[in-house]
């Protein structure tokens, strides 16, 4: 129904729920993301809520250049986010790995692994820039939900490889990567994707 779709787009833009993931960042961008919830910048005026579970969120905010240890966790959590979703790469690190370019411990910029919608540059970006990025992602999300998900092929493959909805502990594994890394610490070799 067209009316229902339009209502849905309207509401989706005004209620972006975030899940924040750190893929090896220095925590500068994480601090600025939390600062954007403080009274001066108040992301809640846009309806933003920082959620505790990726299954509740619409927008995945990722900070940090993607380390080898965190690649599997990023892909797992991306697969756990349901429905129309968007990804915001906060800071220069997920977009281009910034000063860590050519480092042996990194698995490249974020859009090699998951499709990214909005990049918020800065080192760290100001909280108002982060709020702008989230608002842009909410608009993209509203448009995306209007057409039924025409996800990028990489995203579609990830979604079908995502773990089932009734998981054991591994699928809601902690996004903090150290304990969940199956192989050793500095493994530059390619990792197998666990189904």
């Amino acid at each position: 129904m067209n009316l229902w779709n339009r209502l849905m787009c309207y509401c989706r833009r005004r209620s972006p729920w975030l899940f924040h993931m750190n893929s090896g960042s220095c925590n500068g961008c994480d601090i600025e993301l939390i600062a954007s919830l403080t009274p001066r910048y108040d992301a809640e005026q846009l309806g933003v809520r920082l959620e505790g579970s990726p299954r509740h969120a619409d927008i995945l905010c990722v900070t940090g250049p993607v380390t080898h240890n965190s690649v599997q966790a990023i892909k797992t959590v991306y697969g756990q986010v349901y429905g129309p979703k968007a990804v915001v790469a906060i800071g220069s690190c997920p977009a281009t790995t910034n000063v860590f370019i050519d480092s042996r411990t990194l698995a490249g910029p974020l859009n090699k692994h998951i499709p990214v919608d909005v990049f918020v540059p800065g080192c760290p970006p100001r909280p108002d820039a982060i709020v702008l990025g989230v608002a842009k992602a909410a608009e993209i999300l509203a448009q995306r939900g209007a057409q039924k998900p025409a996800a990028a092929p990489a995203a579609a493959a990830l979604l079908t490889a995502a773990p089932e909805a009734i998981p054991g502990p591994s699928a809601t594994a902690e996004p903090v990567t150290v304990a969940s890394a199956p192989a050793g610490v500095s493994a530059p070799a390619a990792r197998e994707v666990q189904p």
Partner: protein, 139 residues
């Protein structure tokens, strides 16, 4: 009771939130986007050498060079600005904008190399060394 007075004052004093999309002014010394002036650049590529994030790229061509800068790669440290002898680089107090595709903010400039400045008309050196090379003149 301290927290209750704090809450009461917050209620009475109004919120200190900036209404979206208003943004605060950045302070004067804020290290933001790097600005390049092609007129002043001498093509020494010290900025590319000093750049910590490899945001600046410099390629030499025949009689020209290409200077490019990607704010998405930049870490806004300011080493390039410090190292530029010709003062062609400066940092604005301006945050980089949000973008949607990788490399959308990258800017390239192709600058023609300036001809070398003519030497001052000194005595022609081809006709023997009349100018004494050593101070103190040990022959």
């Amino acid at each position: 009771m301290n927290i209750l007075t704090m809450l009461w004052r917050n209620l009475l004093g109004g919120s200190r939130t900036l209404l979206f999309p208003a943004r605060p002014k950045v302070s004067k010394g804020y290290r933001g986007l790097v600005r390049f002036d092609p007129e002043l650049c001498s093509g020494c590529a010290i900025c590319k050498f000093r750049c910590t994030a490899r945001a600046i790229d410099f390629k030499s061509g025949k009689g020209t060079f290409t200077w490019s800068y990607d704010p998405g790669q930049c870490t806004f440290c300011g080493r390039c600005v410090e190292g530029c002898k010709s003062h062609a680089l400066s940092q604005d107090a301006e945050c980089p904008p949000v973008y949607l595709t990788i490399g959308a903010l990258k800017k390239s400039y192709t600058v023609a190399r300036k001809p070398a400045p003519k030497a001052a008309p000194a005595a022609p050196l081809a006709s023997g060394s009349q100018a004494d090379p050593l101070p103190g003149g040990a022959q």
